[in-house]
Amino acid sequence: MTEFLDLEAQDGVRMPWNVIPGTKQESTNCVVPVSAIYTPIKAFPELPVLPYSPLRCRTCRSVLNPFSIVDFAAKLWICPFCFQRNHFPPHYASISDDNLPAELFPQYTTIEYASPEEAQRPSMPPVFVFVLDTCIIEEELGFLKSALLQAIGLLPGHALVGLITFGTLVQVHELGFGAMPKAYVFRGSKEVTKELLLEQMSFFAKKPKPATGVIAGVRDGLDAESIARFLVPASECEFAINAVLDELQRDPWPVPSDQRATRCTSTALSVAASLLGACVPGSGARIMAFIGGPSTEGQAAIVSKNLSEPIRSHKDLDKDSVPCYHKAVKFYEGVAKQLVNQGHVLDLFACALDQVGVAELKVAVERTGGLVVLAESFGHSVFKDSVRRVFQSGEHDLGLSSNGIFEINCSKDVKVQGIIGPCASLEKKGPLCSDTAIGQGHTSAWKLCGLDKATALCLFFDIAKKDGQDAAMQSTNNLFYFQFLTYYQHGSGQMRLRVTTLSRRWVAGPGSVQELIAGFDQEAAAVVMARQVSFKMETEADFDPIRWLDRALIHLCSRFGDYQKDSPSTFSLSPRLSIFPQFMFHLRRSQFLQVFNNSPDETAYFRMILNRENVANSVVMIQPSLISYSFHTGPEPALLDVAAIAADRILLLDAFVTVVIFHGATIAQWRKAGYQNQPEHQAFAQLLQGPHADADAIIKERFPVPRLVVCDQHGSQARFLLAKLNPSATYNSDAPAPGGDIIFTDDVSFGVFLDHLQRLAVQ
């Protein structure tokens, strides 16, 4: 395992198959697709940043890298992807075996370029447009205002700020108007296009409208003055923002008691997108939407105003009985497309007890690489702390970057199927593209409007090599090369290019199984499977995820397991594979597959997080980690099983979006009795303290900030823990539960699952 972690530490890449099945047939047999989970701008402590432009291959545009073969004498290099021979330019004249440029150092497989031209260009300040829902109760509005004021206080002074509020109508505040607070008001039920917006917001008052061409930004027809009306430096807008926020009231339009408030979320977002598209296209900008309820007005209403109509559930979606769902999704696809074109991000902060339409918004948030936070209230710490995390700088900053473009080069026998993750296809077709697509496919370049140092993409590859060609190729070379190029606007405003070049060995033919097993990264595999199955659930009608997963697992086990046919008891798995069934077991029980306990919003939320997190975090989502604290031993990992529960233990469950501290019955009793406050029971106090300290450490580095649940055995909140545990003891188990707790479920336990698996695998 550790070697995989090392590789990740060097390049930010994890692959299920680090030894790659060398032919199409073999890769199909391997069940888990050949894929990679790549964190494009993972923070590396010693990442070299080269102050010059990269050298690129003349034909395939790949960048010079340590795997290139360099002919020092001839001053040329051979591209490992296309084998093109490229001459070094004059300034590389002094290159020699002992005078290598950094990009050729073997350990610098990942390297960053910041070209000097870029450094000289005036860097664009980051732009934030806040979109606030005002159809919320006064109390919530108060929380929201204070969170926002705090956020703006944390912004760098040069960052540009815009403000849009909405309810029945959309108000675009002209913060740069000195005389008095001023806002443009748009009707919530009507679509506002960019052209309309340009015209109606007097962008051409001082400068005539150009007769032709796209109008966008200062370079293309707008004068800076009119842009400055809506986007104002954070250091200058404090008064204006305060003036607006101070007097910000609930949406004043009356709401009949049997109706939902009229909330035109989609129009507001579309206006925000158009405003940014007009003012700062192509430059990093974020729309931060703070939404407190379902959209009921405009193109992408998710539910009617009538309260008697409930908001859609998974069941409704399955039955396809929610006509507005598809319309809304389609609308947001349009918004996503627009934002992607402009290079802007949509961040979503949804805080409501009921659903707000995250499921519909998902497409726009995910394609633009936006952040998403779902909480119950604007007063909840999940929201407040998350907002703070977004803007805070320092050790735990998110490293928000923007406007990225991600490109792939790889060896000619490998093709790219697509990416599941927060990105959007740029539709750059080429020989690299596979015919089949997974996620954002049919392209070799993607737009990453928003990305941060944790953003992880899952790339799917297709091995194109046919069996017949083996002999010839194998003799010469059994390496595949991958090169990932990420061109992005760094937090400093500077444009950077990060290049990661990988080489992986491929194997084929008989006897390759052991090699494949040796290169199998089961954690990465589990995560890839999770992303893939989630994606399939969303996109394929009548898809049965359980069956699909089970078959995959059985397939995998029968191919890579050790057994005698038809003898389940002889079945065993290599340690490389041994935990994989367990991951699959928990994946089957996870919120990604078992959606009926959740609203469509929650499901969408979980999947969006899954799709942007790295392997380690994703594994926690699939199979939460459990740590046990007791007087007898120090903190130790515990089996994610109901058996882990004991009256004299404290359990810490980390399920990524929730962190649960669970006090065993006895512990809880003691705590309630206040022993921890007595000096003679300091040990107890320390025991109680331990999980809290660990939980804090987890919470501190995580985004969105997880919800901390502190509960006691048999308490109602204990369900957060029980839901995640393997139900080895249920109400109909024969044996008495070891920990004194049982789970009320008919689900099979892991033991039963494994039995079945073994039985089926050996057939």
Binding site: T168, L169, Q171, E174, F177, A179, M180, P181, K182, A183, Y184, V185, F186, R187, K190, L196, E199, Q200, M201, S202, A205, K206, A243, V244, D246, E247, P252, W253, P254
Partner: protein, 1092 residues
């Protein structure tokens, strides 16, 4: 007022018996006391109004000061009024009655108070008139004979003609009825004494006319006989006095208007003398001629030729006349009929001897005593008797129509309309036709039942309302109940009359801030006007205000108090507008006063650099409407450029219209029609939600009034037009117009219906309103200046000699949220005699109808046709008269019915008016059309036949009595190159400066020593010299009379502006039309042709 009537009756006797003094004393106190107080109570608004109230004068004088002056209003105090009036009367002696008062005016406060109450200078006038009337009967004859023996040989007749009653009266004349009835005729005398005799009934002008200007007199003379004019001078008056013994007139006066009597007492002799006798001669003349028939008396006969005819006949060139003999060239222009303005006040009782009393001319100054019929201010019929058949009417060539001005300003001395509250049951109404109880419903069967005078149905009297009948067949309580003894009364409406709570007073201001509006200063002017006018809005929680500005977008302002500053909300979608807030755009005035002031102050600077040239007027009013929809209210729009974007954008005819001049002959009138139906559709919706739109057009270019005006017209609003807008000279007018608009008496969410007795139906309503069902008209707003014309149609023969009734009911909400029904009743007798119709024809009303109809036709018919129409009507009327009522006279003479003798002049003026002139600018014509559509009768005449007064010799003529010098005919012959003249038509005023004016006068009036130095953007200023002060007084007085802050423009000789001035002189040959004399000849020829 009721009290007066009796005294009135006495008077006659009193007059005869010298009781006059006592009578005088009595009446005055009551009237005064009442009227002032009443005014104060009733018409607070009025007081506030600019022109009327004392304060106003100052405001008018110059833009800046005006505002501050609001304070003065107190001037109204009854006391002051009293003072004023009495003042006038005494002075009457020789000069006009006004004389003294005017003197007082200069003094300042006292004079004004007077003025304010009455729209016109009542006090002075009233006295004389009353005098005149009394004089009529007994005294006259003597007077005439004695004083002016020569002229009117046959005195005896006179009395009859005067009285409507006609034949019978003469004998009784001396008795009560007679005298009273005579009164009016006498009045006529005076007029006629002045330049042109009006209808006999109305006697206002006499006093002033005679004294006013010798010049006039001469003119008069011609018509009369030679002698009268000459008599004019002082001497005659005195001689007159003797007849005066006649003093009766005096006594008579008291009854009418309180004011006169007191004053009168002492001065009587002399003043009267002057007036009365002048009058008499005229009348005298007539009577003799017409003794036989009723007609004759009324007509003014040419002395020599028409002894028989009572009518004045002018024989132009054709026939040998006393005055003018031979061809047209020989017509003495000084002898043809002309209006004789008078500042004398006429006292008018609406009914006498149980008969309708023909009202005084609308343009005169009169005080009404409501004795059963409503005041003619509220409702006026074109003919004061109803022809019994449609054929008879058709034969006369005249039109039967009503001019209804339901909220007209009463004279301050008049009794206010009484409010009657029937409690929860609501007003008593006929169960069949729903007519309201009125003095003409007859109670029968011991009062248990009553017969509706409108539909003839017999209803049960409600039990609570029962009352026994007296011996005269009237209810015993008839005199205590206003609804049974007054022609006008106001009922408190019950819940039944409300669909919702009465609406609050909502004022929404919408200001154009586009580039042009900013650059010409219109926005700043509007803001400053609004911010000053806010103080005049009614106090209290029911007053709500909102404000928005617009260019190519619409900017609302969130005025809620909690905000540190107002929040500006921009509505950018001008194709599909909406209101940005549900509430808080319109907030109670008390909660936003400071914000509002701050905002109005900052708007001009905020948009200083606005580069948006487009204007979304249509979208803006729509958005404002949406904001007001829930309540309704007044929407006041200040617009400076053509509506060019958004809803209802006007672009198609932009090119044609840009030039703002008529686009050739072909289809020219198309540009006077609205461009499309968009605004009309919107306006109908506005009206439905009770939003009344007033538009202030401050522009320097074409703005397409034809299209825009549809909105105010449909919603009961008004168009104000300032073109070319000048910050310097129009700011003050804008403010004053706005102020009057807001402070004048007015109502909201009104519905009006006119009911008639059986036999006649309402055919059509014309005016500013929205009509959704055939019988009613909806008025989102109705104010004291709005008049509605109601045309009538016979559908049956009426019984001769019966009474025929009209009832106008206006259901409306007051500023203070009370729901009221104002009911005005007019009952006229039915006649089968054509001659009677001519005798009681109401010239002013007739002409107003002609005017309105012409205006209505302009946009839809070719101009030639429109111009022909009034001329034909005029000819037809005169022809009918000539044919059926003046058969005796020789065919060589042009014979005009006395009551309609000015019809040709007005007709000529009409076809030369802005609207009918082919060379007028499109917007000017559209504005004119629109202005006419709601114009009141008193303002209709000056609109086409403006008043011109010389102002270069103000000082020298100071002693004349009236503040405003008497006018001179609109003929260039009367313009001297060394003179300065003021010409006003109730809306515009031109000051013409001749080429060789004495530089001293120039210096005094304009602060410049030569004509060239006077800036063309003229602002009337008051300099520290008597002449300038006097001029300011005069102008302020005119403003007060017209309820309008005139647009003063300076015209210099030899300048285009000078041409403008001369184009107003309608008696001249200009605009490709005939001169007055030529026109008379033309008419005469036409009549002759048709006769044969």
């Amino acid at each position: 007022m009721a009290a007066f009537v009796p005294p009135g009756a006495h008077r006659p006797g009193g007059n005869n018996s010298n009781q006059s003094p006592s009578a005088q004393q009595h009446p005055p106190p009551p009237n005064f006391g009442n009227s002032p107080a009443a005014l104060a109570d009733n018409l607070q608004n009025m007081n506030l109004n600019r022109p009327h109230s004392a304060p106003r004068p100052s405001p008018f004088s110059q833009p800046p000061p005006p505002y501050s002056f609001s304070g003065p209003s107190p001037g109204y105090r009854p006391g002051s009024q009293l003072m004023a009036r009495p003042g006038p009367s005494p002075p009457n002696a020789i000069t006009r009655p006004m004389g003294p008062p005017s003197g007082a005016l200069p003094g300042v406060a006292p004079g004004r108070p007077m003025a304010p109450p009455g729209t016109r200078p009542p006090p002075p006038g009233s006295l004389p008139s009353s005098m005149g009337s009394h004089m009529g009967l007994s005294p006259r004859a003597p007077a005439f004979t004695g004083g002016q023996a020569t002229a009117p040989p046959p005195p005896g007749v006179s009395p009859r003609p005067l009285t409507t009653g006609i034949l019978t009266p003469p004998p009784p004349g001396p008795t009560q009825a007679g005298p009273v009835s005579n009164g009016p005729p006498v009045g006529s005398g005076p007029r006629f004494g002045s330049p042109g005799g009006m209808s006999s009934s109305v006697p206002p002008p006499t006093g002033p006319s005679s004294p006013s200007a010798p010049a006039q007199v001469p003119s008069m003379g011609p018509f009369m006989t030679g002698p009268p004019p000459t008599s004019m001078p002082a001497a005659p008056p005195f001689s007159g006095q003797p007849p005066f013994s006649a003093q009766p007139p005096f006594s008579g006066q008291p009854p009418f208007s309180v004011p006169p009597p007191p004053a009168m007492g002492p001065p009587q002799g002399s003043p009267f003398a002057a007036q009365p006798w002048q009058m008499r001669p005229d009348q005298m003349v007539r009577p003799p001629s017409g003794p036989g028939s009723a007609q004759p008396p009324q007509m003014y006969g040419m002395p020599a030729h028409l002894p028989n005819q009572s009518m004045t006949s002018i024989s132009p060139g054709m026939a040998p006349t006393g005055a003018s003999v031979g061809g047209p060239s020989k017509i003495d222009p000084n002898q043809i009929p002309r209006p004789i303005p008078s500042s004398a006040v006429i006292l008018h009782e609406t009914r006498q001897s149980d008969q309708a009393n023909p009202p005084p001319p609308a343009t005169s100054d009169y005080i009404v005593s409501d004795t059963g019929n409503c005041s003619p201010r509220y409702m006026r019929c074109t003919i004061n008797q109803i022809p019994c058949t449609a054929d008879l009417l058709a034969t006369s060539g005249m039109q039967l129509a009503l001019l209804v001005q339901p909220l007209a300003l009463p004279h301050p001395s008049e009794e206010p309309i009484q409010v009657v509250d029937f409690g929860e049951t609501g007003p008593v109404r006929c169960s069949r036709c729903k007519g309201y109880l009125n003095p003409f419903m007859r109670f029968i069967d011991q009062g248990k039942k009553f017969i509706c005078n409108l539909c003839g149905f017999t209803d049960e009297t409600p039990r609570d309302y029962h009352c026994n009948l007296g011996p005269d067949g009237r209810r015993r309580d008839a005199n205590e109940r206003p609804e049974l003894c007054r022609g006008s009364v106001e009922f408190v409406a019950t819940k039944e009359y409300m669909i919702r709570e009465p609406m609050p007073a909502v004022y929404f201001f919408l200001i154009d801030v586009s580039m042009n509006a900013m650059q010409i200063g219109a926005t700043a002017a509007a803001c400053s006007a609004i911010s000053q006018v806010i103080a005049d809005l009614p106090e209290g929680p029911r007053t709500m205000v909102g404000i928005a500005t617009f260019d190519s977008t619409i900017h609302f302002y969130h005025l809620k108090r909690a905000l540190q500053q107002p929040l500006m909300l921009v509505v950018p979608d001008i194709q599909d507008v909406y209101t940005p807030l549900q509430s808080d755009v319109i907030v109670p005035l008390s909660e936003c006063r400071q914000h509002l002031e701050l905002l109005l102050e900052s708007i001009p600077t905020m948009f200083q650099n606005n580069r948006t040239a487009e204007s979304a007027f249509g979208a803006a009013i729509k958005a404002a409407f949406l904001a007001m929809k829930s309540t309704g209210g007044k929407l006041l729009v200040f617009q400076s450029v053509l509506l060019s974007v958004g809803i209802g954008a006007l672009s198609a005819r932009e090119a044609e219209g840009r030039t703002n001049i008529s686009a050739g002959e072909k289809e020219a009138h198309k540009l006077l029609q609205p461009a499309d139906k968009t605004l009309k559709t919107m306006a109908i919706e506005f009206a439905e939600y009770q939003v009344c739109v007033d538009v202030f057009l401050t522009t320097q270019s074409y703005i397409d009034i034809a299209s825009i005006s549809v909105v105010p017209r449909t919603t009961g609003g008004q168009v104000y037009y300032y073109h070319p807008f000048s910050v310097l000279s129009d700011t003050a007018k804008l403010y004053n117009d706005l102020r009057w608009n807001i402070t004048r008496p007015q109502g909201f969410e009104a519905v009006m219906r006119v009911r008639c007795s059986q036999g006649i139906q309402v055919q059509e309503y014309l005016g500013n309103f929205c009509k959704r069902i055939p019988t009613d008209i909806d008025l989102a707003g109705i104010d004291c200046d709005k008049t509605i014309m109601v045309t009538l149609k016979h559908d049956d023969k009426l019984p001769d000699g019966s009474e025929f009734a009209f009832q106008c009911a206006l259901l409306y909400t007051t500023l203070y949220g009370q729901r009221r029904i104002r009911v005005t009743n007019l009952s006229l007798s039915v006649t089968s005699m054509l001659s009677s119709l001519f005798r009681v024809a109401d010239l002013d009303a007739q002409f107003t109808c002609l005017l309105k109809q012409a205006a209505m036709d302009i946009p839809s018919s070719p101009l030639v046709q429109v111009r022909e129409q009034p001329v034909n009507t005029c000819i037809n009327i005169l022809l009918s008269y000539r044919k059926f009522c003046a058969t005796v006279s020789s065919s060589g003479q042009l014979i005009l019915p006395e009551a309609l003798k000015l019809l040709p002049l007005y007709t000529l003026a009409l076809i030369k008016s802005t609207g009918l002139r082919p060379d007028g600018k499109i917007d000017d014509r559209s504005f004119w059309i629109n202005y006419v559509s709601s114009i009141s009768t008193p303002l209709a005449i000056p609109l086409v036949y403006p008043r011109m007064i010389p102002i270069h010799d103000l000082k020298t003529r100071e002693e004349e009595g009236s503040i405003v010098p008497s006018s001179i005919p609109l003929s260039s012959e009367h313009i001297s190159d060394g003179g300065i003249y003021l010409l006003e038509n109730g809306d515009d005023a031109l000051i013409y400066v001749g080429g060789s004016v004495d530089s001293g006068i120039l210096q005094q009036l304009f602060g410049a020593s030569t004509v060239e130095e006077i800036p063309s953007q003229f602002v009337l200023q008051q300099y520290d010299n008597p002449v300038s002060k006097k001029l300011n007084e005069v102008v302020n007085e005119i403003r007060r009379q017209r309820c309008s802050y005139l647009r003063l423009r300076l015209c210099k000789k030899g300048d285009p502006s000078g041409m403008l001035f001369f184009s107003q002189l309608v008696e001249d040959k200009n605009h490709g039309s005939m001169s007055y004399v030529e026109f008379l000849v033309h008419i005469h020829r036409q009549i002759q042709t048709r006769m044969t």
